[in-house]
Point group: C2
């Protein structure tokens, strides 16, 4: 790498570097690279994995499992850039806690410790930061996790956007659990814990200034207790995913690909808040692709489904839990939906970004 | 919190919140809050600790120590916002690896696993991201750590600054080590591993377009092997600190305060690259406050100093290691320097920011 010492302009040297497949011919980062869809997947596959790749990272789990001494630890990181910082049902602060708590929970881990790192734009009102931090504190207490280490950086006005937060978490995983995206088998059923699209549409309605008959609230919530109840009912859960960026559609596609199975869902069984449905129709969005922040998808053995759903119904975040589909051995790596009209459609992964900066 | 659903303007509610001491009457975040000096300390003390405070966070260590099962783990987070992204001797990528590796090493930990989370500004050239990622990969390999989990977010043009990176790390700490800022005792000596100010002035010379007789290179380097050699010579090291933001002066002040001791240093013993010295004079900067990214300060028992320094001299990053001062029981919580002119001066913590966005 050469730097012109007079101008500060850098000229990186790329000798010996290679980019195995062109990243859809983009020569610069576009918003879709952060959308959690195909462009993000390509960036990971063609840029990050070749550079960092190792057995653990290659699994591309929401949280990775580390064996340290006699402990199995889950470890997960997430940066939050949601805009606006405050919305109905939450703000960037509790989202940053719940998001990482949920990533840990999706490995079946009990979340224990979080780090919190702030990148703050010069000029952020102190009371705004105070409100964010207070929310984080309450969310951490609710989730039973401790924020044990942190970092604060400040960037000049116009070089950030109010406040970005990274949280990285550590949890412990009980021996014997093997919850991962590649564990789904034909015959398993797909459970969804509740209504879809609430978080994404809560953000959009604030951002776009929509007025609906009733307000749309984000579903931001910590899911580890719900997972605990599910595991108590059946420790043999195959896969757990919280369908955030990219929504239910993206999570199911990732599971279908990782497990090399087909997934069939019945759209009529998927619960959705009528307001969210209206907002999606207004904006031309498919709710299956809209982000959730307090919902989970579970792939479970069909024999255990009833017991797991009964356990979920006992928990405040699982009252609407139900079976929405099943895993099949046809049309592998594809997700097929039976629509309300009785037809079927292929649910693909979105390429770019439907709703930027949703989390 | 109320959000005006039409405008998206939020009105946080502050009922029941309190800010124990006014943050120097700043009602908004200023650059100095990210400078690592007194303003950062006040933000931590008056905003973060009251909200998040717990026994571990309250220790304010570079990395916190977690007891999980039979394991003692070090856990540390750092976001990197250095500008420009590339400079002589490194770039944001290797800095992000070495920075967190060093924070772990300063607890005496062997660094094992890192997370990497990117906040990328729309429009960043793909080859720039590629160069950064490649550097991270090389730095991780050199430091013997694995990047095991990650995250990518993209923000719109003008809402970020090229690329911000958070790394969070896990390391293991051998039983029996008690390395912390509050362990310094009168009679101990202060060791510095090498020249000061290289990183900060490397950044400034690129940023300001200075030309000196020779170029100034950042000292960005992983220090965990050096620490390993030091611990092999004497496991009874009291304190380790890598003097990054705020430099040697800030680290020594933090140690003096945490251990309730005085620290006396002899400025004539502190090694400094002549180019760095010239650059500091030109800019009116005190090199004691300039950031380092590959140096450490150690407080050690005087009886072990010789053995530790001999061990440091065996390692490429410790060839200039030497004693620069001692811990005393007078003028507690203060750092006093004997100058080249034979006079003494008090080395205080800086209040705000000398060199913004240095790491």
């Amino acid at each position: 790498m050469n730097v012109n010492i007079q101008t500060g302009i850098e000229t990186p040297q790329f000798d010996g570097m290679s980019c195995p497949v062109p990243l859809r011919d983009f020569n610069e980062i576009v918003m879709g690279h952060g959308g959690g869809g195909k462009l993000t997947a390509e960036l990971i596959e063609h840029l990050f994995l070749p550079a960092f790749g190792n057995e653990k990272l290659n699994q591309l789990r929401d949280s990775t499992i580390l064996d340290i001494g006699d402990q199995r630890l889950a470890f997960s990181t997430d940066s939050f850039v949601v805009r606006p910082l405050f919305f109905l049902g939450g703000n960037i602060g509790d989202l940053a806690i719940n998001g990482t708590v949920n990533d840990l929970a999706m490995s079946g881990a009990k979340p224990l410790y979080l780090s919190a790192a702030f990148i703050i734009e010069e000029g952020l009102p102190m009371e705004t930061l105070h409100a964010i931090v207070k929310s984080m504190s309450l969310a951490a207490r609710r989730a039973g996790v401790q924020i044990v280490t942190g970092d604060t950086k400040v960037v000049e006005r116009g070089h950030g956007d109010g406040c970005f937060i990274n949280t990285t978490g550590i949890g412990v995983v009980q021996p014997g659990l093997r919850i991962a995206a590649d564990q789904a088998s034909p015959g398993d059923v797909v459970i969804l814990s509740g209504t879809i699209g609430d978080h994404g549409m809560a953000i959009m309605s604030v951002r776009e200034g929509f007025e609906f008959e009733s307000l749309i609230f984000s579903d931001s919530a910590p899911l580890h207790e719900l997972v605990e109840k599910m595991l108590a009912a059946c420790p043999d859960i195959r896969t757990l995913r919280d369908p955030t960026r990219g929504g239910v559609a993206t999570s199911l596609n990732e599971i279908a690909a990782a497990s090399n199975v087909g997934i069939e869902i019945d759209e009529t069984t998927i619960p959705i808040n009528p307001c969210v449905q209206s907002a999606c129709e207004l904006l031309g969005l498919d709710p299956l692709f809209v982000a959730n922040e307090g919902k989970l998808l579970a792939i479970v053995p069909s024999t255990a489904a009833e017991a797991i759903i009964a356990a979920m119904h006992q928990h405040e975040f699982g009252t609407n839990a139900r079976i929405i589909g099943r895993v099949v051995d046809t049309r592998r790596k594809m997700v097929i939906a039976k629509t309300a009209f009785g037809s079927t459609r292929v649910i693909t992964m979105q390429i770019g970004e439907q709703l930027p900066r949703i989390c």
